[in-house]
């Protein structure tokens, strides 16, 4: 495997998704090059998670086509692994076995490496119920990365964590991504998180791309004035499309949208 191009490219061509007569996504065109880290932000119910599920092949588009490395996605996308908002660990398997279970062939060393990378090797024998929320998400991250997927889809994986744990997890995700350069798509409510992690931030509003912004800040990213300007720009795009009543959600917050995806 080529070290620096471990990822895949993702191409959405005129993708639309509707449930009954309710349109979630309409005519989306998007090209994500190999190895790029893309963040998708926007209001609840604008189809961020749906977009992610389409890329994973968990759902089929009503119209249009999704290509991963120029191959159309039919059914589950073999390249993709998903990290959900809840860790979704199997409670009856130890931490070690939760990572090992996704491998087609048992490989103790590979599992230990993956746990080492997320800093949980010494907890390998514990049950998931004995871990904190942040530790559980780190196991989920180890499980997602143990197969070295070329495409990692992150569906608000840090949304349920406390602020400090969230910062640690952001560092960890960035470090692992810099090492392996898989293509990464992060859905988040937290504009600060998007600017901190992503090469490119996409604002999704009413099923359309309202903003496609490159974040060319040096890594690791500190809160600088350039950082703040990026955040402000993204927020004003989201706010420009928010309903009047929604504005209060953003007042005084660090670019975090308070409402949760239903």
């Amino acid at each position: 495997m080529n070290e620096f191009h471990a990822g895949v490219s993702v191409h959405l061509q005129g993708v639309a998704k509707a449930y009954g007569d309710r349109t979630i996504l309409s005519d989306l065109d998007l090209r994500i090059p190999k190895g790029q880290f893309v963040a998708i932000v926007g209001h609840s119910g604008t189809g961020k998670s749906t977009l992610l599920r389409l890329m994973a092949g968990l759902e089929e588009p009503s119209r249009g086509e999704i290509f991963i490395d120029d191959h159309p996605v039919r059914g589950l996308a073999p390249a993709a692994r998903v990290m959900f908002q809840d860790a979704r660990l199997l409670p009856w398997l130890s931490v070690f076995d939760n990572v090992a279970v996704v491998l087609a062939k048992p490989d103790k060393e590979l599992v230990q490496q993956a746990l080492q990378r997320v800093g949980l090797l010494e907890h390998a024998k514990k049950w998931p119920a004995q871990l904190s929320g942040g530790q559980r998400q780190r196991v989920a991250l180890a499980r997602a990365l143990v197969v070295r997927p070329p495409l990692l889809l992150l569906d608000e994986p840090l949304g349920a964590l406390d602020a400090l744990t969230r910062l640690e997890m952001q560092d960890l995700i960035e470090t692992l991504w810099l090492e392996e350069r898989f293509t990464s798509v992060l859905v988040t409510h937290d504009v600060g998180e998007a600017v901190r992690l992503a090469d490119r931030v996409i604002c999704l509003e009413n099923g359309r791309i309202e903003l496609d912004l490159e974040v060319a800040l040096p890594r690791p990213r500190e809160r600088s004035s350039a950082f703040a300007r990026m955040e402000a720009k993204i927020l004003s795009t989201i706010l420009g499309h928010g309903k009047e009543g929604d504005r209060s959600h953003y007042a005084g917050m660090h670019g975090e949208v308070a409402s949760r995806e239903a």
Partner: protein, 260 residues
């Protein structure tokens, strides 16, 4: 609370009232306030147990009843578990089979005793059939329910990670349904003893039920009471075994972890 104090409340306290009751019962019997034909004293019951044990018949009665109970349970529980699993895993099987099984469930299986006697006579098959039928229903219900109430998030995770059918069943479905299956086991064990007692009381020529009915004819009340106590002890024993299974198999469960 001091350590000795908590030891008393944990270990001793639950037995205080039953112990006092036994002493009172013995005292009233010895004083002649309870006639022996109505209720023998605890000491007389123990004496009956010792005599029968010495003759060797007690063990053969217990062994016969336990063998009947557990072979009926094995057949019934296995059938209930397999049907519950089949209906839980296959939507089509569920559509086809669940309604008829629910219809059978509404019939109290002991109401079938007259029919069962006509079908199988009063031999071993009748008892096995009744126990198997009685235990199959709760096992079926709990297995089916356990699989249906699996966390859909975990099932989706397993799809994303491309678990094959075998891995899906052994690593996700079965362990996920296990807490419910094990409460089915406990419930079935209770049904097992009730069914056996009824079946043995109606007709038997061996086993605890036979011992009780035989003793009743000769007004040996101490043996009658002994039989009832034996049923209670065997019921308690199977419940303890089921509890131990739960502790061992559900070590991962958050509730179990708190207790450790």
């Amino acid at each position: 609370m001091s350590r000795r104090n908590s030891w008393f409340w944990n270990r001793v306290a639950p037995w205080v009232l039953p112990g006092l009751l036994l002493i009172l019962w013995q005292a009233l019997g010895s004083a002649g306030l309870i006639p022996k034909r109505i209720l023998p004293t605890p000491v007389e019951v123990v004496q009956a147990a010792l005599t029968l044990a010495h003759q060797g018949v007690l063990w053969s009665y217990i062994a016969t009843s336990a063998a009947r109970a557990f072979s009926g349970f094995l057949i019934g529980a296995a059938a209930g578990f397999l049907l519950g699993t089949l209906n839980g895993v296959s939507r089509k099987a569920g559509r086809l089979l669940d309604t008829p099984i629910q219809m059978i469930r509404t019939i109290p299986h002991l109401a079938l005793v007259p029919i069962v006697i006509v079908w199988f006579g009063i031999g071993e098959q009748a008892k096995l059939f009744l126990v198997a039928l009685g235990t199959a229903i709760p096992m079926y219900m709990n297995t089916y329910f356990g699989i249906q109430s699996l966390d859909p998030g975990l099932l989706e995770m397993a799809r994303v990670y491309r678990f094959n059918r075998a891995k899906m069943f052994w690593k996700v479905i079965l362990p996920g349904a296990l807490p419910s299956v094990l409460s089915g086991v406990r419930y079935s064990l209770g049904v097992m003893w009730v069914t056996l007692i009824v079946a043995e009381t109606i007709s038997a020529n061996s086993g605890i039920g036979y011992m009780i009915m035989n003793a009743q004819e000769f007004m040996q009340m101490n043996i009658v009471v002994l039989g009832i106590v034996l049923y209670a002890l065997l019921g308690k024993l199977s419940d303890v075994i089921a509890r131990m299974l739960e502790v061992k198999l559900l070590a991962w469960h958050p509730i179990g972890l708190q207790a450790v």
